[in-house]
């Protein structure tokens, strides 16, 4: 979906507020610190994946998404996931139904992270140097194909292997697709007057069409 989060190339936001500090405080209020930790800790219950989590934040009225501060969108996303997955009722029915990490388990999970690289099940359709066009796609679900590259032509510069495909992962179904790094010329994306030179975007195979 191209909601309020799909920001590449949008105009009217004004200038960037580049803070003078080289290392700002990581959290600007206690509630930000709390929602950050709650989001990561509940994620460790394994009841949703990172793409479901992103999609929960995106599924808001665009005006709300843009009006909210960053961590407010995290709060909205977490409230939504907890309700949709019915976590409170489920643990009330069966106190043992989730493995809830303690500090040492949490540290271990943070160190392991969530690698998305999978073994190749198919041959990649494209190779470095190949010309592609990004398919136009306006689906309701989660996608990592930004609107500003849809319909644009580019050149494959790298193949990163098979990675978990977010569009499907966000529905709770894990599947792999080939992932490529694609270079777009600024003029292709923004027109002949553009001062932008090149933009590199990571795109999965189902987003791409071959240019013959």
């Amino acid at each position: 979906m191209n909601g309020g989060h799909d920001l590449g190339g949008r105009q009217g936001f004004g200038s960037v507020n580049a803070e003078p500090e080289s290392e700002e405080p990581r959290f600007h209020a206690e509630w930000e610190r709390r929602i950050f930790a709650l989001t990561l800790a509940t994620g460790m219950l394994g009841q949703w994946n990172i793409d479901e989590s992103r999609h929960a934040r995106e599924r808001q009225h665009p005006a709300d998404y843009l009006k909210h501060s960053y961590y407010e969108n995290w709060l909205v996303g977490l409230e939504k996931l907890l309700a949709e997955k019915d976590l409170v009722a489920r643990i009330e029915q069966d106190a043992q139904c989730f493995r809830v990490p303690d500090a040492s388990a949490a540290r271990k999970i943070l160190r392991t992270g969530g690698p998305t690289l999978l073994p190749d099940a198919t041959q990649p359709r494209f190779c470095s140097g190949g010309r592609i066009r990004v398919a136009r796609c306006q689906r309701a679900g989660h996608t990592r194909a930004p609107t500003y590259v849809q319909g644009a032509s580019g050149t494959v510069v790298d193949h990163y292997g098979t990675h978990i495909y977010p569009d499907q992962n966000a529905t709770g179904q894990r599947a792999g697709e080939h992932l490529y790094c694609v270079r777009f010329e600024g003029t292709e994306l923004w027109g002949p007057e553009s001062s932008s030179q090149s933009v590199y975007v990571d795109l999965w195979e189902p987003y791409l069409e071959e240019i013959r």
Binding site: S15, S22, E30, I109, L110, G113
Partner: protein, 204 residues
């Protein structure tokens, strides 16, 4: 936590919502207090731009490390112990006298946590996410960074789980510096690509 606010001011809706949520999750046993503390401690004190600065300074000092880093950043920084969430897959892009790299995430706020910690507010803000891809020179100038006309500016939009780190150019006049001296020069913003590293004599 700062206590410069007036204690008679009631907590905001947001504070109340987060507090209510935390109380509920703790009471129901869906999260553990010590796990929350460990998560906060990790990102407030353990990971941060000093990790990335270590990698950059090492790359400036050791050519074979630099080559390995550009070839397979994930495995190369793992050898230094930099592994984990939001650093599972890494690519390092090198600035040269002709090429300048800039990293953004237009769709959310993807950022190499293992090397830079949590992203600054501006990185997550709408103006940066919207404009870094369409008018990078204007964005860079807002950080005081003005590059020559001929510089090839490459913008990396972090749409997958691949995380990007910029390897800044080593400043002139730092020949013979130790890795520790070099590390002190490397700023967070230079590893995102919004600023160049200046030779600051006082660091030496």
């Amino acid at each position: 936590m700062s206590h410069d606010h007036d204690h008679t001011v009631p907590p905001s809706d947001l504070e109340l919502r987060v507090k209510a949520l935390e109380s509920l999750l703790l009471e129901k046993g869906l999260v553990k207090q010590d796990a929350l503390d460990a998560i906060i401690e990790t990102y407030e004190h353990k990971v941060g731009p000093k990790n990335g600065a270590h990698v950059v300074a090492k790359a400036w000092s050791d050519l074979s490390f630099k080559q390995a880093l550009l070839e397979d950043a994930t495995a190369t920084v793992a050898e230094l112990g930099y592994v984990g969430r939001q650093g599972e897959h890494l690519t390092v892009v090198e600035n040269t006298s002709d090429i300048h790299n800039l990293v953004v995430c237009t769709l959310c706020s993807c950022y190499p946590w293992t090397l830079l910690g949590l992203p600054p507010v501006w990185y997550k803000s709408a103006p940066y996410r919207a404009r870094a891809v369409s008018e990078p020179r204007a964005v860079l100038s807002e950080f005081g960074t003005v590059l020559p006309e001929h510089t090839d500016i490459r913008v990396w939009d972090s749409t997958s789980e691949m995380r990007y780190l910029v390897l800044p150019e080593r400043p002139y006049g730092t020949e013979g510096w130790s890795e520790a001296q070099l590390q002190a020069l490397v700023t967070r913003n230079s590893m995102i690509g919004v600023e160049l590293i200046r030779h600051r004599e006082e660091v030496k």
